[in-house]
């Protein structure tokens, strides 16, 4: 199905152009740029809704396609399109961006127009990453994404922002260079930059393994997977709240998306050969990182580590496919795992955003992220406490919230691969609850910790709007995940069938 009008282009370029407009509106009338930014974000979100309502869930084919030549001499096309895997992530992006704009409304007093512009441009570029079907276009968006985030952390970040930005930039850039080499190699093999063409490209095992490792370098850093995760806590700690939200809710998902769009379909045999590596890294992320999160003294660091652990479920769900297929006792489970990983990505988008926004609410008032500086927040901020406890429970995977759905699906699927995978993955029920609730206990509960806590003001209407929308999203996905699963089903089934066929 193709749209009557270029809806994907609109979702990409409206925020980019709107961002430039906001940028040029300047800081003389900050409220104008704020309202302008909000209008652009809301409009973009509204435009993206037809992607969901007009989506044909019965096919795995690309929809809303746009394909025009871009650099004809190199056969590089401006080719966009979405399937069930990318479409939900685009909606997540447009939804979260609105919240980020609202959340930065009052807090950002330093160069607010540039701040808003950076996020809008970021939005367009991230949608571009999800929608690109041409590898060159994908790569351009992929690298372009670094610039606004680099600026967001570098300009509005904390005291140690230079170290964090450099680390963030070098890590991700180093990873993507390898990916570029792999893309160029496949261009020469296939004669085009079409990603879907790469899917059907015949590749030998050695080639596949090298390509797989190149992709791994790029995607593992983005996810991030253990042991290339240490940039994330530093980046989060230094980033302003909005930056953390985008980073956790969307940018990490791009790593997971990359595995589904590139690694698995292009190099199925290498993925099958090296699945033990990814599974091991994922399980280490779940267990090891869980324990590390437990001892963090900084709330943002704690949530950052918790993100890494939760993203471990995503990669685990994606790569147990091959072990399930190898197990003669079971016929199903592979789709369950990949679906679980995807649901976990969307859910983590909501929950991590909410957790960082909660910390932001506190930080705006007390200018501290140290757990020890708080205590008894519930006494002065009862409504905020209710939100925080709710999201903490979602973070701990309480059934009825979205946090449960993905973890549950992945645990079920990994049981089909190997009892011990499920065993290790399920430890998150205990460790995840431990680090989250211990933080809640020290920050939210207890008697009023100090005078500054005693002077706290409860959440205002703007904050209620932001946290309330996320509450609804988390509950909706937790109580009725069927719509999301249904939308993804055809594409994921197709993917699983595709990778079951060896390219050798």
């Amino acid at each position: 199905m193709s749209a009557d009008w270029p809806i994907l282009s609109a979702i990409i370029w409206l925020p980019v152009l709107g961002g430039l407009l906001v940028l040029f509106s300047g800081d003389k009338a900050p409220n104008v740029s704020r309202w302008l930014a909000l209008a652009v974000a809301v409009l973009t979100f509204l435009i993206s809704i037809p992607l969901w309502t007009g989506f044909d869930a019965s096919t795995a084919a690309m929809q809303f396609e746009e394909n025009i030549p871009w650099i004809e001499s190199f056969k590089v096309n401006y080719h966009l399109g979405v399937d069930g895997i990318s479409m939900p992530l685009i909606l997540l992006t447009t939804f979260i961006t609105i919240l980020v704009v609202i959340a930065g409304w009052q807090v950002i007093q330093y160069k607010p127009s540039q701040y808003m512009a950076a996020f809008l441009i970021m939005e367009g570029v991230m949608v571009g990453v999800f929608a690109a079907l041409d590898a060159m276009l994908f790569y351009v968006f992929w690298e372009a994404m670094l610039i606004p985030m680099f600026l967001i952390i570098g300009i509005w970040g904390g005291p140690n922002r230079v170290y964090a930005t450099i680390k963030f930039f070098l890590y991700t850039f180093l990873g993507s260079v390898f990916m570029l080499v792999a893309l160029v190699y496949m261009y020469f093999q296939s004669g085009s930059m079409e990603i879907l063409g790469f899917h059907t490209l015949k590749l030998g095992l050695t080639e596949q393994i090298l390509i797989f490792l190149a992709f791994l370098a790029a995607f593992a850093v983005k996810v991030p997977m253990w042991p290339v995760h240490t940039w994330l806590p530093d980046a989060h700690v230094e980033a302003p709240t909005g930056g953390s939200v985008i980073l956790a809710a969307i940018m990490l998902k791009i790593g997971g998306y990359g595995f589904l769009r590139f690694s698995l379909p292009i190099t199925p045999d290498a993925s099958s050969h090296l699945d033990w590596l990814i599974i091991a890294m994922s399980l280490i992320a779940v267990v090891y990182i869980g324990f590390v999160a437990l001892v963090q003294k900084d709330m943002k660091k704690l949530i950052a580590y918790s993100s890494i652990a939760h993203m471990g479920f995503v990669t685990l769900g994606f790569f147990i496919v091959f072990m399930i297929a190898a197990n003669p006792e079971v016929q199903t489970g592979a789709i369950l795992g990949v679906q679980g990983g995807m649901v976990q990505m969307v859910s983590h988008g909501f929950i991590s955003a909410a957790m960082f926004l909660c910390v932001g609410v506190l930080y705006d008032r007390m200018h501290s992220r140290e757990i020890a500086d708080y205590g008894g927040v519930v006494n002065t901020m009862p409504w905020f406490a209710a939100f925080m406890v709710f999201f903490a429970m979602a973070n701990a995977g309480l059934p009825g919230t979205s946090g449960f759905v993905g973890e549950f699906m992945v645990i079920l699927a990994s049981f089909r691969a190997d009892f011990w995978f499920a065993f290790l993955a399920a430890t998150t029920l205990i460790i995840g609850a431990a680090y989250t609730l211990w933080m809640v206990k020290r920050v939210v509960f207890g008697d009023v910790g100090n005078d500054r806590v005693a002077a706290l003001q409860d959440v205002n209407k703007r904050e209620v709007l932001v946290l309330g929308s996320l509450t609804l999203a988390v509950l909706a996905l937790g109580l009725w995940p069927e719509p999301l699963v249904k939308v993804m089903d055809a594409s994921i089934t197709n993917l699983v069938n595709h990778i079951a066929v060896s390219k050798l």
Binding site: L294, Q339, I411, A434, L437, V485
Partner: protein
């Protein structure tokens, strides 16, 4: 059959308390205190009325089993997951008990919490709890069971930490949640195993397919094969051990007494903690296929029943004595399940729900009278000031120790007899512990009773002047609970234990049919009683009662002397066998140590220190070296050239 659509009725039954909870929670400032309690009481009241109606339909009208899905949660990969209701005789009994006790607790709370902060919040929570518990017991599949399971855990967490300013309360609620999560860890793996081997999480489908899978094995470690049913049942039971507080996952329940007394009655005595017993009984078609699992259940239950009862003897907090009693009674129920006497376990669940809720609420009434002092050493002579509380407490106590004719007598005797008839491994051990436990039960119960209600008046003069009977909102629920505590056993033993009330719901393999064997000798209640008073447990109960009377009424110094004489035992009991210290030292401290180690050594030293910043430094170092080479001084280059030349000469000529 009535014209009303049953599905709508069940939805209303479940959603009424939820609506009450949402109203009381979100509109707490608008509707005020009275609005909050009316909204929730109305919700739970509707729920109780409908439950009673459903119960009536099932008992007297022979209503058919209702099993329908409400909506599809998810269909993925051939796995159909729904939210739906299964209402049979077991469900009908559970919802009636849950909503009745909940309603009593709601009314009682008006009095108990009258002067507390967070009044609306409290009502919102307990109504939410009622909703969650109903979802749990009415589920027709494992997924929704787990939903309810965790939801009641959440509300329990919120309510234990109700007094959030108190450090001990917020420690206790976190502890409760985490220990329950250890159980849930096993539970979710059990559910995963069911999903994997049955391809469904629907009760009916799984139970139908179960007998065919009895012989299947599962490879867990190396080449060794385990019976599939044993693995599934034990994993699921680990969940029950968390929720129903069985050794060694019992440690959270005594601490949960940090919560206000009404929830100790509702959640931590009558309903939530019995979810594990309900679950195992529901899964009887699975448990019957694994004797290993049944033995495991039996031994854990009996161990809990006896050893937790012992701790009750040395506690001095009125609520904690009852809490240990709850642990012990839950152990009895679990032991019944292990002996395949599911009906007896459920029967005791029901009688216990009434008399234990009564005991807790009566204790709460005493606590109100004592101005929130809970130490029994400060009490005494309360019977003179609080007549209704005194009588109802005494009735509850008699039910608890199994005094002939009272509800607890029938249920406890049935359990002990059934375990006595059991043939599986561990049955002998379990039987003796349960029999000895009867003495312990009577001893701690009447120690508490005599110390609190008899003897000289309250120690504190101020307390003595102000102590008076609680208001009617408190005493009426006590009286209403006292009635079933006395008579429910007599009324229901025939259909529940030896009749066909649970026919088609509980499955008992003929080799395990312990209750059937007892049933052969059963004629009527009188016969059951006269058989009971001839047996050892009755005399042990009387012995316990007499001992308590002698020691705590006549010769108080005996208790002190014994404590000194057997200080090792006394110490062991007051330290609760050291479970808490062990968990704190090994699991809590160990996790922190491990986390610190991984973080400092793994993340900061190895990954960041050596790999990341190390590479950065090496690049920097390389740059430094290269910069030194390109110094810009001509003589440096000249020397380098000469050295290079010499080297080449050496290489080509001399070598």
């Amino acid at each position: 059959m009535p014209a009303i659509d049953m599905k709508t009725l069940y939805l209303a039954l479940v959603l009424a308390p939820l609506a009450g909870s949402v109203i009381a929670g979100l509109l707490r400032n608008q509707i005020g205190k009275a609005g909050a309690h009316w909204a929730t009481i109305l919700g739970v009241g509707v729920s109780f009325a409908l439950s009673a109606y459903v119960f009536w339909l099932h008992v007297f009208q022979g209503a058919p089993v209702f099993n329908e899905n409400i909506y599809t949660w998810m269909v993925v990969d051939g796995l159909q997951l729904h939210v739906g209701f299964l209402v049979d005789n077991l469900t009908a009994m559970m919802i009636t008990v849950v909503t009745f006790v909940s309603l009593m607790v709601h009314i009682y709370t008006i009095g108990y919490m009258a002067h507390e902060e967070g009044y609306q919040r409290f009502f919102s929570y307990i109504a939410l709890f009622t909703f969650s518990m109903l979802m749990l017991v009415m589920s027709n599949n494992f997924l929704q069971l787990f939903f309810g399971w965790e939801a009641v855990g959440l509300v329990s967490y919120l309510l234990i930490g109700f007094y959030f300013k108190r450090e001990s309360a917020i420690f206790a609620n976190m502890k409760a949640f985490l220990v329950n999560r250890v159980g849930d860890f096993g539970f979710i793996l059990g559910i995963a195993a069911v999903a994997m081997y049955f391809g469904s999480l629907d009760y009916a489908q799984v139970f139908d397919a179960a007998p065919a899978k009895a012989g299947e094995t599962i490879g867990i470690w190396g080449g060794s094969q385990w019976s599939l049913m044993t693995v599934i049942c034990i994993l699921l039971f680990i969940g029950a051990m968390g929720k129903s507080a069985q050794v060694p996952l019992h440690v959270w329940l005594p601490d949960s007494m940090e919560g206000p007394t009404p929830i100790s009655a509702l959640i931590h005595a009558a309903t939530m903690v019995t979810a594990g017993i309900f679950m195992v009984a529901r899964m009887s078609p699975l448990y019957e296929l694994s004797e290993t699992a049944l033995s495991f259940v039996l031994v854990i239950g009996a161990t809990t029943a006896f050893f937790m009862g012992l701790i009750g003897i040395v506690q001095n907090d009125i609520k904690r004595v009852i809490a240990y009693s709850t642990l012990s009674q839950l152990g009895y129920m679990v032991a019944a399940l292990g002996a395949s006497a599911y009906a007896a376990g459920l029967f005791h669940l029901m009688t216990h729900a009434f008399f234990k809720a009564l005991l807790f609420l009566a204790a709460g009434s005493v606590i109100i009278g004592m101005h929130h002092d809970q130490d029994i050493r400060n009490m005494g002579g309360v019977r003179k000031y609080m007549k209704i509380t005194w009588i109802t407490f005494l009735l509850g106590n008699l039910a608890l120790i199994g005094f002939p004719g009272f509800s607890g007598f029938f249920s406890k005797d049935a359990i002990i007899e059934a375990v006595g008839h059991a043939q599986i491994a561990g049955a002998g051990y379990a039987h003796w512990l349960l029999v000895a436990g009867v003495f312990v039960t009577a001893l701690y119960s009447f120690r508490l009773y005599f110390i609190v209600f008899h003897g000289e008046g309250p120690r504190d003069e101020h307390a003595k002047e102000h102590i008076k009977e609680s208001p009617a909102v408190v005493t009426v629920p006590l009286m209403l609970l006292a009635i079933p505590s006395v008579v429910i056993g007599w009324m229901t033993i025939e259909p529940m234990l030896f009749g066909d009330y649970f026919k088609g719901v509980l499955h008992v393999a003929s080799a395990h049919d312990t209750l059937g064997e007892i049933g052969e000798h059963y004629h009527n209640q009188i016969g059951f009683i006269s058989h009971g008073v001839m047996a050892l447990p009755f005399w042990l109960a009387m012995g316990g009662l007499a001992t308590a009377f002698y020691v705590y009424m006549l010769k108080p110094e005996i208790a002190r002397n014994l404590a000194i004489r057997f200080d090792w035992l006394y110490g062991l009991l007051t330290r609760k066998y050291g479970f808490d210290e062990f968990n704190q030292a090994v699991f809590a401290k160990g996790s922190l140590l491990l986390g610190k180690g991984l973080w400092i050594v793994g993340d900061r030293t190895v990954i960041d220190g050596i790999a990341v910043n190390g590479s950065a430094r090496s690049v920097g170092l390389l740059g430094q070296t290269l910069r030194w080479l390109q110094s810009g001084y001509l003589y440096h280059y000249a020397i380098a050239m000469i050295l290079g030349l010499l080297g080449l000469v050496y290489w080509f000529v001399i070598r």
